[in-house]
Symmetry: C2
């Protein structure tokens, strides 16, 4: 199904960061990340992939290569290959982000639909 309404796919989990996959192909995957206040994704890196975060709701703090910024809806941050990155939610409201990574480490065999 090539069309998705993400406004109906906002998911959060009291246990921790909630990832909701939107779609994937052999070239990239795209997720929503929902973070309740205080939740986080630990810093990590991918030697051979690029990831970006696009903020949809809230005031998450994104860290890229040692630089941490609290950002707002409409902000984008990207991690080039090898750059440590992560996100946490130091605010009092939920944070929602669109996240894409390429290439797709899961690499499904089909076109993804």
């Amino acid at each position: 199904m090539p069309f998705l309404d993400t406004t109906g796919l906002r998911r959060f989990d009291a246990a921790g960061l909630r990832k909701t996959n939107l779609f994937q192909t052999e070239h990239l995957f795209c997720d929503l990340y929902g973070l309740e206040p205080g939740q986080s994704q630990k810093l990590h890196s991918h030697a051979a992939a690029t990831k970006f975060y696009f903020v949809l709701e809230g005031r998450p703090r994104i860290t890229i290569a040692g630089e941490a910024r609290e950002v707002s809806p409409g902000s984008l941050a990207f991690a080039a290959p090898g750059e440590p990155h992560g996100v946490d939610n130091p605010g009092t409201e939920r944070a929602l982000l669109l996240v894409a990574m390429a290439p797709n480490p899961n690499r499904p065999a089909s076109g993804g639909s």
Copy 2:
């Protein structure tokens, strides 16, 4: 620069669809597309890449593999490799979309920053 505020990068052009590159690495590129009412991106396809559109403003009409839908902010549509795709703006307000494609056909040699 790994952080960008896209709310300051909304560009439109009376001559046609305006693409504003946000960033690129060897793995993907990410653009904003601004469409005035009546503007369009013609149907085309990429044999070996995946593209997705994420609607930020307006009511663009996205076509993927023969299916056309008028969509709203928060909607996502993706074209798997080989699927014809395009976007036009049949509405009366401007349309703004976040667009990403992987792999990057321009493939810059560096990490993109």
